[in-house]
């Protein structure tokens, strides 16, 4: 963390010395902008309520995140996200919180030599699927997270990533290749803990409207000390009224049984900020087979705010709190 702050100061110094316009302005949902937009400070928070039959009823400030972008040149930027998890909660035992809540979520440097190529080094979100790359509470439609999006791969990695983009007429091909050859900068806290590994994701579609993608990751699990293969596919379709999203994830560990999960989610823009949604999942893991269903409605009073009401069923025994009701207020700033 200290080294990250020192690096940030090193990058900020030339910006300040260059005489860049130090006008500071805040854009709701788009951060605090400084130095002619070369520095942007943003973040989000999520206040969650849950009452589930296999866990405590709880009201919690679950996420308080800050992210910083520093772009001293047109082709280089530094990005970091720091998050406070489980800052404070209220449950049957009274008020509590995570004694050590600060987590370094992301810290990477990116260089874009050409439009079609981006090179990144550091700690990043694993580019498997869709949800993992947009998992922040204000960006997704449900409080709960689908199992296919986090059960079979480490949600972050520390290493190198190259992203290439190619325009094929009306469509775009995007390829992300990544690898980790060292221990992570910080532990991720994910279900899977990757210590070494590499993979790729290939996506084709009409950017911003629809895409299909396939992913593969082979990694050494730091806890089990076995190599695992994860295969995935994902799909998204967006128009003015609907957002459809689906992901499939399969884990094939060396010498162990295959596990897999899939979900299909639909969200409808009813108008006036209301978005009902429904999600079906199928999960086969550790000998358990379940078909969770989540359903509910979201309300967006402003583009950067969302209130979610969600019911979940079919989750018995999945170590996710069970069935019941979830609610959330989150805001992007």
């Amino acid at each position: 963390m200290r080294n990250a702050l020192l690096l940030a100061l090193v990058l900020l110094a030339p910006i300040a010395a260059s005489g860049a316009d130090m006008d500071i302005h805040y854009v709701p949902g788009r951060g605090l902008h400084l130095a002619d937009d070369k520095v942007v400070l943003g973040g989000y928070l999520a206040l969650n309520f849950k009452t589930l039959d296999e866990s405590r009823t709880e009201l919690a400030l679950d996420d308080l995140s800050a992210f910083l972008t520093i772009a001293p040149t047109d082709r280089f930027r530094l990005f970091t996200e720091v998050e406070l998890e489980d800052v404070v909660h209220i449950d049957g035992d009274g008020i509590g919180g995570n004694g050590d809540p600060v987590v370094l979520e992301r810290l990477f440097a990116e260089y874009t030599p050409f439009d079609s190529v981006a090179l990144r080094i550091g700690k990043m979100l694993t580019p498997i699927g869709i949800w993992n790359q947009i998992h922040a509470a204000p960006l997704v439609w449900s409080v709960s997270r689908p199992f296919a999006t986090e059960l079979f791969f480490d949600t972050q990695f520390t290493g190198l990533e190259i992203e290439t983009r190619h325009n094929l007429g009306a469509y775009a091909l995007r390829i992300n290749a990544f690898g980790q050859a060292t221990d992570p900068i910080t532990a991720t806290g994910a279900v899977q803990q990757m210590s070494r590994g590499g993979g790729a994701r290939i996506q084709i579609g009409d950017l911003g409207h629809w895409h299909v993608a396939a992913s593969y990751l082979r990694f050494l699990d730091d806890r089990d000390r076995i190599w695992k293969n994860t295969f995935g596919t994902d799909f998204q379709f967006v128009n003015d009224r609907w957002e459809l999203m689906s992901e499939f994830s399969l884990s094939d560990p060396d010498g162990r049984e295959t596990e897999w999960a899939v979900y299909l989610q639909a969200v409808y823009n009813l108008g006036a900020g209301f978005h009902p949604f429904a999600r079906y999942e199928h999960v086969e893991t550790m000998g358990i087979v379940r078909d969770p269903v989540s359903f509910g409605v979201d309300y967006k009073p402003r583009p950067n705010m969302i209130i979610k009401l969600e019911g979940v069923v079919g989750k018995a025994g999945l170590e996710d709190g069970g069935n019941g009701f979830l609610a959330s207020y989150s805001v992007l700033f």
């Binding site: 949902g29 047109d74 960006l139 775009a172 911003g208 003015d240 957002e243 950067n304």
Partner: protein
Amino acid sequence: MLLVGAAPQRSFVVIVNPSNPIESISREELELIYRRYRYFWDDGRRMIPVNLQPGDALRQEFSRMVLRSSASALSTFWNRRYFAGVMPPAVLASPDAVHDYVKRIPGSIGYVMESLVDDSVKVVELLDE
């Protein structure tokens, strides 16, 4: 000065800084620029797209015709891009402000009503699909 006469149903014209050598641009290319999937002109200069205010009728038409998305869908799109550290195009107060910005800043691109066009900016032909 080139005219966008091939698309009479549009209320806007696309303008760039006079130092920009391009003469035309496709809708797909313009959408990539405004969704921040393209960053550099062919001469290596940074692309600087600028937008009008969200409630502006011209912006709504531009979003509908070029970006093919509603304000709600674009809001969700940009929330997610922002989380990745990518900022949307800067929003300026008015078409006059867009005209003034594009006139002054190399690499910039914007859209205004045709009545605002003069020799201080360059109009590029927007090619339909």
